[in-house]
């Protein structure tokens, strides 16, 4: 977009002359009690301003992604909010509340329709007519339809928004669904899963868009390849021990203290796509496996049901209890069926022969 393009177009579209606009700026400067110097430059500054607009919605969430966002370091959250984008709505940080907050939201949705980016944190409940999550009396579903429906792109931040996450875990008491399922067909949906999404991936996505003016290529779950294109396992620093066959057997044992592979304690790195081992967390300080705990698979769909029990390589067999184990059940099944076949077979042969002998006259066919 060129320097003056959008504003000129907007003003014209709304039938506002440039003089009126400069007058508006002066009034606004007065309202804001801005010093004179600022007021003079206001009109020009607004014309130049080309900051993308962000709306951050929170539904059935824990604010973990918001907190994660606060830990962003490249750029920092202060740089993002003050310089890179205009974060027009975010309940956890915004100054206005109640009606004023809602007014700010609807103003942005109206003024920047089709241009803003909606960031959504948390799943959306479909049960109880939406009463499991309301804001300002409106249901999450109503808000999502309105806001995401008119967004240039929607970023589902965290596994709850991307895939339903913990609220959607069995038995999903509130009928929680992912944003993409709640509002099907929205434009440019990007799933930034993980619980929470890594701050550096959130900012990397924004930087990607700001610098390249396009959205990144996605995987089959609509996750950006730059962050979800490779398995944890394939970048893991403990991989050599996996291949060697050297595993931690118990918490605090020698293998654990010396950074061996956590596979046998249930590590889900082999089935999880994310870049944790590469960018790590909190400015590259560490990551879960780095501190000795297996990966939980937090970036994958339904990980609360599919990756649990977390400390076991595989889930047990349904109907055999939580502690059941596929190998034990498998051996039992195989042995049982084999035994049954063997017993049945022997009984069948014996009884056939006995019958044949009883029949007497024609034994040739049966015995010789």
């Amino acid at each position: 977009m060129t320097e003056q393009g959008w504003l000129e177009r907007e003003l014209k579209a709304h039938g506002v002359s440039r003089r009126e606009f400069v007058k508006f700026c002066a009034t606004m400067a007065a309202i804001l009690a801005l010093p004179q110097t600022v007021a003079e430059n206001l009109a020009e500054a607004i014309e130049k301003a080309d900051k993308p607009t962000l709306i951050w919605l929170e539904f059935q969430d824990c604010a973990g992604n918001t907190e994660s966002f606060l830990r962003a370091s490249r750029p920092t959250v202060a740089e993002i909010i003050l310089e890179k984008v205009s974060l027009d709505y975010h309940e956890t940080v915004m100054a206005a509340a109640g009606h004023q907050a809602e007014a700010a939201l609807s103003k942005t949705v109206k003024d920047y329709a089709g241009k803003y980016i909606a960031m959504v944190e948390g799943s959306i409940p479909t049960g109880a007519d939406g009463a499991y999550c309301t804001i300002g009396g409106k249901s999450a579903l109503q808000i999502a339809r309105e806001v995401c429906g008119a967004a240039a792109a929607t970023v589902a931040v965290g596994t709850c928004a991307a895939f339903g996450g913990i609220p959607a875990a069995r038995p999903n008491p509130t009928g929680a669904v992912a944003v993409g399922d709640a509002v099907p067909g929205i434009k440019n949906l990007i799933n930034l899963s993980a619980c929470p999404a890594n701050a550096e991936n959130i900012t990397a996505l924004l930087v990607y868009y700001l610098t390249m003016k396009q959205w990144p290529p996605l995987d089959q779950y609509r996750r950006p390849l730059f962050a979800y294109g490779k398995l944890i396992h394939d970048n893991c620093e403990r991989r050599a021990y996996f291949d060697a066959g050297q595993y931690v057997e118990a918490w605090g044992d020698e293998a654990h203290r010396h950074g061996r592979c956590l596979y046998k304690l249930g590590c889900k790195g082999p089935v999880t796509f994310q870049n944790c081992p590469v960018i790590q967390w909190n400015q590259g300080t560490n990551w879960p496996i780095g501190c000795g705990h297996p990966c939980l698979g937090c970036a994958e769909p339904n990980f609360w049901d599919r990756m649990t029990p977390f400390y076991r390589h595989l889930e047990g067999v349904p109907g055999f209890g939580l502690g059941s184990n596929v190998d034990r059940v498998g051996i039992g099944l195989a042995a049982g069926v084999a035994g049954a076949f063997a017993i049945h077979g022997v009984a069948r042969v014996v009884s056939a022969r006995r019958a044949a002998r009883a029949d007497g006259e024609k034994p040739e066919g049966e015995s010789q």
Binding site: S73, A97, G252, H258
Partner: protein, 553 residues
């Protein structure tokens, strides 16, 4: 009488709605409601108790860690696992860091804008701001050049015409009282605190792999290995890093947070007699100083009734119960009496208005929060409760600090039972805990010197070693207050799980006897200068540091 609705209450975690009746410039009646439910207690049923910490941790990403701690303690209590000393120290450090971090963010990023007018900061003189800052603290980032830079950055931001999260707020409201210089100083520290929290919380990444939602908890201990002779474990290098992070925190709290709090408080002393609340306080106590079933606690456990600081009553968990008379749940045996958490039920039953709605049915059920009661009475929990219990118990560090703060502001202990009291208690606690953390780092070093590598009670790891049926309770002091988890385990599987959470205590609705919850009570009498701008209501509600994801879960 005007009926006002504040929804969403912002700068908190989650979905809080306040309805109030205002008359003669004061709140006469108030209702606190949380409008989001996930059903995590239901989701936990039928799962492996060793996984429960990861689930409950997702109750909240702001006070991440706290539900994980309460959960592993509850399960350990049930199955009889005994975490070794290293695990206790690692947990104390994690809990302490959470407390410091959460309080700093609360003060600067969630609460400050109720007291600080950003727009007024634009007209501040950086030189005067610098001398104000220097007069209250020797913090190095207090130069005129620094504040000039902050002011210019702010101006540049405002000049874009896009105020982002600061748009449409209450700038210029008559209840703002700080001079422009104090406002500019606060804006500078708002930005510094953003940097501080990001750096300091690396401590959680060191010990827990990441933040939010650390990933090193285990039933029976911690997953972070300890071995001075390994590069994959907590070693001497780690201790040095921890010490550095702890020292930076101590410094920031002592030289920025505490002076800022006192400076701001001195302009708002009338808030020391506003927002008193229910006047009874509950603290479970925190930071075990030894191992075993009943370890000594650095911050004491106890109950204070009706603002009587002369005695601290012992806490008896059997007296805790939760009511759902005004909450969107049903109890099988009827809603008129409470249930102890071991018998607790979570069965949603929404009978409120269909969204979109204007008003809740306030005479019926009106919140997803339950109403916890101790001995049938509402209790306030949180930093104020903890500091009052410690103060009344004569805690050697808390008592002098509280007395000093009271003296500085020229008010008596009664001032503690207030909106301002909550803010002061939070700051004092931050200082006490930040100071204490180094002791735990040192103790880790001593353990290491003895080559004590134990981090987990592996003897209780396998469910086959557990009793066939068992019950456990886990208690914790989360930043926002007393947190308890109760678990019932059968055949290695969770049968029932109940969380009674600080924000449930504080923000819960009326109980079966129509007694208001602490938020509701504290709002009574709060001044309201402009009925369409709920600034003062925000001040008192924010002083509790609401967290609705926690409260409802």
């Amino acid at each position: 009488m005007t009926h006002i609705v504040v929804d969403p209450v912002t700068r908190i975690e989650g979905h809080l709605r306040i309805e109030a009746e205002v008359d003669g410039g004061q709140v006469r009646e108030a209702w606190s409601s949380s409008t989001m439910f996930r059903g995590i207690e239901i989701i936990l049923k039928g799962r492996d108790p060793r996984d429960a910490w990861a689930f409950t941790q997702r109750i909240c990403g702001v006070c991440t860690t706290v539900h994980a701690i309460a959960s592993i303690r509850a399960v350990e209590n049930a199955i009889g696992a005994q975490p070794p000393p290293n695990a206790r120290l690692l947990r104390n450090l994690i809990i302490g860091a959470q407390c410091v971090h959460d309080h700093v963010i609360h003060f600067y990023h969630l609460h400050a804008l109720d007291w600080v007018d950003i727009v007024s900061a634009l007209s501040a003189d950086p030189a005067k701001t610098a001398s104000l800052a220097q007069s209250i603290s020797d913090w190095p980032l207090s130069s005129r050049a620094y504040f000039t830079e902050v002011r210019d950055r702010l101006k540049g931001f405002v000049a874009t015409g896009r105020l982002g999260p600061f748009a449409n707020a209450y700038w210029g409201h008559p209840a703002y009282r700080l001079p422009p210089e104090a406002n500019l100083m606060a804006v500078g520290h708002y930005l510094q605190a953003l940097d501080f929290q990001r750096q300091f919380i690396r401590l959680h990444a060191v010990l827990g792999g990441k933040n939010p939602h650390l990933q090193s908890f285990l039933v029976g201990g911690m997953a972070t290995p300890v071995d001075p002779d390994s590069q994959n474990s907590i070693n001497a290098g780690t201790l040095a890093e921890l010490s550095k992070l702890v020292a930076d925190a101590r410094d920031f709290v002592a030289r920025v947070y505490i002076p800022d709090l006192l400076a701001i408080a001195s302009f708002y002393k009338d808030w020391a007699s506003t927002g008193s609340g229910v006047g009874s306080y509950l603290a479970y106590g925190e930071y075990p100083e030894g191992d075993g079933a009943q370890p000594a606690l650095f911050l004491p456990r106890g109950i204070i009734r009706q603002r009587d600081l002369s005695k601290v009553e012992p806490m008896n968990q059997e007296k805790i119960s939760e009511y759902v008379k005004h909450s969107w749940y049903n109890y099988a045996s009827g809603d008129d009496h409470g249930l102890h958490p071991f018998k607790g039920e979570t069965v949603p039953n929404y009978i409120g208005p269909k969204p979109p709605y204007e008003r809740l049915y306030l005479d019926r059920k009106y919140s997803w929060l339950k109403s916890p009661r101790y001995d049938g009475e509402p209790m306030e929990v949180g930093p104020l409760a903890r500091m009052l219990v410690a103060y009344a118990s004569g805690h050697p560090r808390v008592k002098p600090l509280v007395d000093k703060a009271l003296a500085t502001l020229g008010v008596g202990p009664q001032a503690l039972f207030s909106t301002l009291g909550r803010m002061a208690a939070r700051a004092i606690e931050t200082q006490v805990v930040a100071e204490k953390m180094q002791d735990w780092v040192d103790e880790m070093g001593e353990n290491m010197a003895r080559r004590d590598y134990r981090i987990c009670d592996n003897s209780k790891w396998e469910p086959s070693t557990w009793p066939a049926e068992c019950w456990g309770a886990g208690f914790h002091e989360a930043p926002r207050g007393a947190l308890g988890h109760w678990v019932h385990i059968k055949d290695g599987t969770i049968i029932n799980y109940q969380c009674v959470v600080p924000s449930t205590w504080n923000a819960g609705p009326r109980d079966a006897a129509a007694k208001r919850g602490p938020y509701e009570q504290a709002l009574i009498g709060t001044p309201v200068a402009k009925e369409d701008q709920p600034l003062e209501i925000l001040r008192t509600v924010h002083s509790f540091d609401p967290c609705m994801a926690c409260g409802v879960h």
